[in-house]
Amino acid sequence: MKRRLTIHLLVALAALLATTGVAAQESIAALVAKLGGEDYTVRTPAYQELRTRLGPDLAAELRKRLPEFDPSAQSVGLYLAQSLQEPDRRKTMQAFLAGKPSLLRLGAAAYLLRMGEKGLAKHIVACLESPGPDPAFSLMLGRLLGIDDAEVIDVVRSKLGKDLNVGELSMALRILAQARHEPASAIVAKLLEGEGLDDDRRARCAAFLCVMGDERGKAALVAALPGTKTWSDLYFILDQAKLLDREILDRVLERAGSLEGYELRYAIQLLVKHDHRPAAARMRDWLEGDDSEAVKAALDGLISMGEDIPREKLVALLSSKQEEVSVTAADTLRRLDDHSGLERLIVVAEKGGSAAMSATMALGKFRDRRAVPPLIRLLSSANVSVRQQAFHGLRQLFQALFPYRSFDFDATGYLAAQNDEARRAAIALIEAWWQANAKTD
């Protein structure tokens, strides 16, 4: 009898440990080591786990280990460093800044420059002058987006040349286009006139000129667009254009025919932004496909253009086998003031599959009391992203439903990244408040 009780207790303890995740917790050092590996299937879960352990220990480990890693791993590590709490974040950035020229030093300088600190351009210039092994240069440029410091822009412009690969050229042109840097136009036009550029790079140069309102860009872009292999970074340059010629938009529409996923979404977004009416018929075709990104973009696009989508069509999409498509349909119906997709979202979110996070996010946008109980339940989801979205959704929802009251959800102590036990107390508080104040009408 005593032995059976012990077994029961052990089973219960094991179950408890399994649900809290305490038993399987890896050390921060081991996780950071995984971050430095080349296998992204190992690196990604390690990164996600580390996102839940932002603290002084992680800061110290990042300062110690990141300089040894390759540029791609350093780039991921920089995202973690930026997410640290103060004063760990500043201390870590300062340590990177004091290091040798590298992606880490540039990343820290760019971060602190954005935070308003002065005198950091020299670090960025030094790093760009000796970037180190590929793909460091491209990653460095990626860190400079949105920075309009004249010294930085000048050095980016000085790097323009036909020796840049398509990724590096795209990133450099994107930075210069964001800064509306006129002096770059002549250099880019010269590049375009010369030989040695493939269609992908020609298209990016031409797109830059179009953004700058330079007539030389149009014909070159029209000619190069059909032959481009990649699209998304070209989109990011073109997206900065206030106006695009109809002929260019016609080519974008043609090019979109061979795109899929997020690349197709970008193409649709560009066509919609410029109200390119011929795209509407194609969008109806994409609506019939099973590419959830395309379906979502086509739905948004058609409605933004004032095109009619029968409600029956959207309701039919709710029961699509592809959960992401049904989430998009439910979200679109909500945007049209139709809450009939709410129940479907609850099912998808609570089922916990790959669409659970987007379903929870969509659920959080419903200003509907029926969304509260499932969102409270989703605070206990096994998926940290779902938990984060549920918490965010509840915060928005409570304030909308009770606009004359003040809330501080952080005061409940809920942190999506915490272990179950700590979360459970916070959830109990939220649940209790809801029970006390929920009224049916």
């Binding site: 106006l243 004032g306 200003r367 509907d368 409570f398 606009p403």
Partner: protein, 570 residues
């Protein structure tokens, strides 16, 4: 004597009737501005319509005169580049046509370009737009001058005004109409969308730069719609795009058989409300009934008759007269801050200047019980005005009233209901929320709810913001708002009225105006807290600049784009 008086009175009535009725008929049969308006998908499409547009059969190709208003908005529209592309597309139709170009402000400094000079024409446009002049301009004087120049040419004469920022400041509109008609000049324009019965200039007359000019500003001949409702942060009609250009441009185009091409910059996305965030969405709402249909814009659009004719027609319109009576009464009670722009004068209308609004007494002085009583009394007054208007409108034969005025009167009816609901909510706030928030001690609360962050601070007054009606009234039923059963009952009635309104006036500007109105959210206001300015950083370029934003150039209510984006012309 009394008999004589009666006969005299009868004669007077008959005389007025004979003067007014034909005018009214004339105004009713005159086409709506919507008929003369196209919504261009971009500047290129607008220019295509002009360059590739109709030519009167048998008429010799004459000159096309572009009077260009060089402003920043026009420059940013890529006008010169779009003109170059449009000229390429119109090579065949422009092969025998000369194009004259001049700028607003210097109409006589005209340059003429032949079919082989299109490159030079584009260069001229670039030159004009190199230094934009963003100030309020009266374009009508220049249009008369340009028409005079066009009269020296033979063949078909077309004058095209390209102005995305002006057209509302006018000196002599009817004189311009007369001259263009006399010289057989057809007027077209590329212009921005005006706002529905825009009342901005009525309350900002000191910003009109010349005493010789008048600015009405809206899509119609005068401000026809009651505006400035109590507890509304946004004057809804000042932000509801009308689907047409400002009245003077529509008038000129209609009078000369020309066209108005509306231009809206790309990427105009929907925003539920102008100030603050929407209670019911995350800024991604897509209200389909806000997409205007050209046919409906035409049905409910403003008349393009002369201003005198429009006013005469309004004076004879039973729905307008009923609305005007309600407007005057509501204004007298302090339910509106905008006084009527016109008054019945005999059988016609006389223009009136804006009067100072009456203080409702709800925002200052007195304790909460007094404020509550005042609000409840105002709600009773509001209901009386609303009920009278409702009864009058119910008795009006639909065919005896213009669709535009029926829509406006119905909108006023809904706004009276919204105002009444807000008054009941205010009364509820004074009783249920304000005393508790003003008390010294905080109530016991369960997390995540916390006490008001302003406990202990001395309030200086009462303020409000709005929860917009963009999502309708139904979602409010799920929201905890003050006012108790009286407020909830009023909201139920409002829900019915709004539902009916949304059905009747879907795809018209009146829906946009309703959606930009809202249910009030009351709060205490507090004195600003003094914060020591940061020590200027050495070498900082922004030190001493302060944080006060620069006053934007152009007019705040300028007609370049509204919150609901351009119309589709569907």
């Amino acid at each position: 004597m009394p008999a004589m008086n009666s006969r005299f009175l009868l004669l007077t009535v008959l005389l007025h009737a004979s003067l007014v009725l034909p005018a009214r008929t004339s105004a009713q049969t005159t086409e709506s501005a919507g008929r003369y308006t196209s919504s261009a998908a971009g500047m290129g499409e607008a220019l295509d319509a002009i360059l590739l547009g109709r030519r009167t059969e048998g008429e010799k190709a004459g000159a096309l005169f572009f009077l260009v208003d060089p402003t920043t908005t026009l420059k940013e529209s890529g006008f010169a580049r779009e003109m170059a592309a449009a000229l390429e597309r119109a090579v065949a139709t422009m092969a025998d046509r000369q194009i004259a170009v001049a700028a607003v402000g210097a109409p006589r400094a005209v340059k003429v370009f032949g079919p082989d000079d299109h490159g030079a024409l584009v260069a001229r446009l670039d030159e004009l737009l190199a230094s934009p002049v963003d100030e309020i301009k009266n374009v009508y004087k220049d249009l008369r001058a340009a028409a005079g120049l066009l009269a020296e040419t033979s063949g078909e004469r077309e004058l095209v005004l390209v102005s995305l920022d002006n057209g509302d400041a006018e000196d002599d509109l009817e004189g311009t109409v007369e001259q263009l008609r006399k010289l057989k000049v057809r007027f077209s324009c590329v212009a921005s969308e005006a706002y529905l019965s825009d009342s901005y200039w009525a309350s900002h007359r000191n910003e009109i730069p010349s005493s010789k000019w008048e600015i009405y500003g809206g899509d119609g001949a005068f401000i026809e719609l009651p505006w400035g409702w109590l507890f509304q942060m946004t004057v809804a009609n000042e932000v509801a795009p009308s689907g047409t250009a400002v009245y003077p441009l529509s008038r000129l185009a209609a009078a000369t058989e020309g066209r108005v091409h509306l231009y809206a910059p790309p990427s105009g996305t929907h925003q539920c409300q102008v100030y603050g965030t929407c209670l019911f969405c995350s800024g991604d709402h897509m209200p389909r009934n806000e997409i205007y249909w050209r046919s409906k814009v035409t049905d409910f659009g403003p008349s393009t008759a002369s201003r005198d004719e429009v006013m005469a027609a309004a004076a004879a319109d039973p729905a307008f007269r009923a609305m005007l009576r309600a407007w005057e009464k509501a204004y007298a009670k302090g339910l509106l801050r905008g006084s009527p722009s016109v008054a019945i004068s005999g059988n016609g209308l006389a223009a009136q200047r804006l009067r100072n609004g009456k203080d409702s007494g709800l925002f200052s002085g007195g304790g909460f019980p007094k404020k509550r009583r005042t609000a409840l009394q105002l709600a009773v007054d509001c209901e009386a005005i609303r009920a009278e208007l409702e009864e009058t409108l119910a008795g009006i034969d639909q065919l005896s009233s213009l669709p535009r005025y029926r829509a406006m009167a119905t909108f006023t009816l809904v706004m009276l209901r919204v105002t009444k609901a807000n008054l009941l909510s205010y009364a509820g706030w004074c009783e249920e929320i304000a005393p508790a928030q003003a008390a010294k001690s905080a109530p016991e609360l369960l997390l995540p709810e916390i006490d008001t962050p302003n406990r202990g601070r001395r309030a200086t007054g009462i303020g409000f913001s709005n929860f917009c009606l963009c999502h309708g009234v139904a979602p409010f039923r799920k929201v905890e708002l003050p006012g108790g059963p009286a407020f909830r009952a009023e909201m139920d009635l409002l829900a019915q009225e709004v539902e009916s309104f949304e059905t009747r006036f879907a795809h018209t500007p009146y829906i946009a105006a309703l959606h930009r109105s809202g249910i009030a959210d009351f709060t205490f206001t507090y004195p600003a807290t003094y914060v020591k300015p940061p020590r200027p950083l050495r070498g900082s370029k922004t030190a001493g600049d302060g944080t006060t934003p620069r006053v934007p150039t152009g007019r705040p209510s300028g007609s370049s784009g509204g919150t609901s984006g351009g119309t589709t012309g569907k």
